[in-house]
Subunit: 367 residues, 4 copies
């Protein structure tokens, strides 16, 4: 179903080419002053049409609030938010099944009445609601000292050199503080990549675009100030909940924490993060476990990465099938597409993670 969370809950709705997408956010504490300028900024981070590296579909992604807010302050009641669809061109969408898309799955699940235009309810556009809810979650978390910064870690296999499991970021003090600020600035860039890699990443994307093709990438998000003890055993573990959330973002095919799949190549003596006392707290010298042990936050930064597959919509001719006749066919997609979805996925994954963290924060009574 389309809801996530127990005490901080989101319920998504909408289709790419219907009247609107939106979200109901339940559990915002009464009295929370909402920074709507900041929310609009977050919405713009995800919105299409902002650069050569995203789809030219123009959507302002303006939010209309239907409930739960009075004089800019949360009342404690559910906040319903609607984002109207404006620039829809359904004629761009073919009858043929688009490889790599949900078209076939949706048809098999829902039958002929599914709304396949632009991916319908499976469209990345529906994540606008996650960004809205995530923007609120981030504000609440920030007020409690938890911040969340994402960036494009790699494009088409080219990875930036920032390894957050083992440098000053681990504890975020001293030189780490400067790094945190750097990460914040990166995350807020129109193309959220480290300066030294930005042009390389863009060139790779532009080359794919020129070939009417697309490329994949990896998004990395780091959370500083996650309260130690956050997370529940087993199915409520921080990793379980974060992964459930992040895998709901279209195009994500892998999620890992800390060193992730790399840790499976190590010995225990390399993988275990040595413990030390510092200012009365027990800290680790490295952060191979990404701030999570036994599924529970240990006070170190939480590090998560998501593999984002190349945009499925490409102009390159593809083998496919006509769903009605079952005849083989070749698909050459026109329309407007992101040559790489990773840049716009950054605020979505940040927001989703914020939602998962805040829900666990409330669930654990860590308030």
């Amino acid at each position: 179903m389309n809801s996530f969370g127990s005490l901080f809950r989101v319920e998504l709705f909408g289709e790419s080419h219907g009247p609107a997408v939106g979200v109901v956010v339940d559990g915002v504490p009464a009295g929370t002053a909402l920074d709507f300028d900041r929310i609009a900024f977050e919405m713009r981070r995800r919105a299409p049409g902002r650069s050569d590296y995203t789809t030219p579909r123009r959507e302002a992604d303006e939010t209309e609030i239907l409930s739960g807010v009075k004089d800019g302050i949360a009342t404690g009641a559910p906040i319903a938010c609607v984002v109207r669809n404006i620039d829809t061109r359904s004629q761009d969408y073919p009858e043929l099944l688009r490889p790599g898309h949900s078209d076939l799955s949706a048809l098999l699940k829902y039958g002929e009445h599914t709304d396949r235009r632009g991916g319908g309810h499976f469209s990345g556009r529906v994540t606008a609601g996650l960004v809205f809810a995530g923007a609120i979650a981030k504000q609440i978390l920030r007020a409690r000292g938890t911040v969340i910064y994402g960036r494009i870690r790699s494009v088409a296999g080219d990875t930036d050199g920032i390894d957050l499991t083992r440098n000053g970021a681990v504890r975020g003090n001293g030189q780490g503080a400067a790094l945190i600020e750097t990460l914040r600035l990166i995350s807020e860039k129109p193309f959220p990549a480290a300066d030294e890699w930005e042009e390389r990443f863009k060139k790779t994307i532009a080359a794919a675009k020129d070939a009417r093709d697309s490329v994949g990438g990896v998004v990395e998000v780091i959370c500083f100030g996650v309260p130690a003890g956050l997370g529940e055993p087993f199915f409520g573990s921080l990793e379980s909940r974060a992964a459930q959330m992040i895998f709901s973002v279209p195009a994500v095919k892998g999620v890992e924490f800390g060193r992730g799949f790399e840790i499976a190549k190590l010995r225990g003596s390399e993988a275990n993060d040595p413990l030390a006392a510092e200012d009365g707290a027990t800290v680790s010298r490295t952060n191979n476990n990404g701030g999570i042990l036994g599924g529970i936050a240990n006070g170190m930064p939480v590090i998560v990465r998501a593999a984002v597959k190349p945009t499925s919509s490409i102009g390159v001719p593809q083998e496919t099938v006509d769903p009605d006749t079952k005849a083989a066919a070749t698909l050459e997609l026109g329309g407007r597409h992101d040559p790489c979805i990773a840049p716009r996925a950054v605020p979505v994954i940040e927001g989703g993670l914020a939602i998962a963290l805040l829900d666990l924060l409330f669930e654990g009574g860590l308030v």
Copy 2:
């Protein structure tokens, strides 16, 4: 919290060094004949003490059924299963915090009254309940034509050569059928690895053990016969639910589907699985997406991999802290440990995946 699922639900309980571990399984259809020999076989696959490559702790892991079964047949009421702890040696466990373990997290979350002996409720031993519930789920799935086979895909970075995203396994017919049988046999081996890699993997593990160290690995599970349309949008996606489940297994730090993180290195024209018609069904020629598009099963085999970190318990001296005095200390663990947890993780991840699939099957009304 310790429950998973909506219509096929499991609730885990128990600690490594308490009286017992166990599980309550709710949602087993009335009239399901349970194959207790098969359940016992699955329990043995996870049980410790069976080879040089697992901990010598001796536990028969015999199950006592307290409810929900009459004359070997499920009554429709919840099935409570208890596995007694027998061979506990709490004195083996140190007062010092063990790096890489949940010790610090649990202490920060629950305070001094947490049961840290052997990892307490965070122990891998609690996954015995997942194997029990998973064994039931597998039986129900098998009767519906869905089978689940896991194996050790890699140890310490050495990966077997079986790429299931692009060979005959994709559609499981013709030569694929023989491969499926091979995968079944591998999964049921005491050391569930492909024959050609078994000795190499074992040597790597033995070398780590000799060095009082441990190694990580990757577990891969493939599901044949997953009904197309299985999975719900967004947070109920097959990937979201499977990942929530698999990240609840201790030591897992990454989960990926199909090509996973590799797909982020590709172009769309390489990543998209071309579609074709075959015997009236729409199938894909490759399976880079691991049988899941838009979060929904498309009828191809579902492929999932989990990164299992090296066992945190090692004999190599480690830097740590005394939790009471905060003094720096060196920890040299004795006790009994698995030099590599991947072999025993195979049935746990298989079982967990079976639970997640069956729950989605019921939720989607695909019965």
Copy 3:
């Protein structure tokens, strides 16, 4: 929180004097043709301003569908429905706490930022979303042979003479069929009471209105064609789920099934419904248990009653307190109020019950 159900889910939002009220309905099967005229009819049954016996606030309660429907047919995605608030007069609402209302509770729970205008999110107006979702649920149920008819059973202690636990309605055949049709017609009346009692009930209400006072009543709903076996053990019992739903309707202070509180006055030999075989089915000769035994539907009609308290808003002077100064005060409410809420509660309770039944139907796989 504001959601109900697992497989047929509703999420309510909105406030009496905010921009809108609404609901997200998730779980409507793809391909369900929605009868929007019928939905509009149900909305009008609850809408204010339709007679002398309801508040003169004028609200058309027109629904705007934002998602989940294409060409009048459900796509399988969540259906978001918005009902705009038009005729709001916030100045009618006093600063003083209104006895019998949620004003004090809401203030104690949410603090000064709660939206108290017209009861805010606690307003009966929010139940418009239940009626919308309930109208959809009823259509789906009707197609499966389950129908739900409510009526005003009593006003101010004056009770109609229709005892459905022991006449022809029990099995709904023969003379029962005519009774079922009568009950349908009653439920669809603007004032849904049995013809013989309508004028008496109206006189009682009018007398209270003339005295600037209000009266309470009892709503009874009967469901024919509820599949035997519907309901889950314990917390998922038909009675548990229905009561959870019905107690969410503002002003309901009691819920009972079958003979309800009367059954507690009987002996077992009077209360037990004798069983008999009829056309191969096992049926009961009476229906003291209201079609539910052990929390599970037994195939007899399901009978439920709800006690609806007198409207809390009255013109009669009342003792109260100024929430800021804590000074004693006398409140004389102006504004527009229903002298009796029971008539408008009928479609809400019907709709709520339909939601609960459909959710259990899906949960039990009875489709």
Copy 4:
């Protein structure tokens, strides 16, 4: 399903004539010292065989704790509790369907494999788990100032004279304090009824027993010290959650709060509880709403009543059906039965209410 609650969760299992009944309790805060003598006392309150007014089945109802407790203190992990069945005599149970019981429902729902012996999973015996979990919940609540006292309010229509909506109990100070103590003492009696009514109630029960029949009754529970603001909107209302819980107790056919069904006979000017300031708090002079407005606790005592039907098992000959042949038959039950279930229902409903309150307390962050 068999679980209740989000942050304080219970999962019931077991059958009347299987090996055991039990419960898993999740969400007990780490560090909670459990008073096992008190738990045993609560178990005895519900246990059978203690007087002439309950079934002579002898069950010590001793609890075995399998997890979640170390040195008598909760560790934060789930607490699994098992109560073995000892004195089972399955031969007492007939093949014929017992009117008033779940026999028919269970057969229709689960088919021939349901365990009907003694009602199986639908047996009142399964509520032992609720009493255990409720005993823990009560201890946690008591430490926070919330106490819960139940009693038999009426038997066979004969009602005691204690009206808690309008005497000193409303605010529990002054003379009210003495009343609270009286209510505590009543609740702990072997036959929990007010002294003045005890003999009358017993005589009525004895007369029914002599006639091989049974009688119904009403249980009333009052909670003092419920934090104002407890409860969530709509489906999470205090009334919704409490009713969901209480209707899960076998034999309950009605639930009401405050004046309950009586309030539907009143005018608003009689039903509204006048507000007054007292020691800086806003209180009500009467408690017709049973401490709940808008579904949220207002700080007054919470009053709930449950209608308990006469025990379905009676010796009087009854019309029934043979489930196999569908032939009409006459049933004369032997076996051991409670002539009135109300006395043993008191601790169950108290415990259930404690569970619901504590879960809402955690959910609302009122800790």
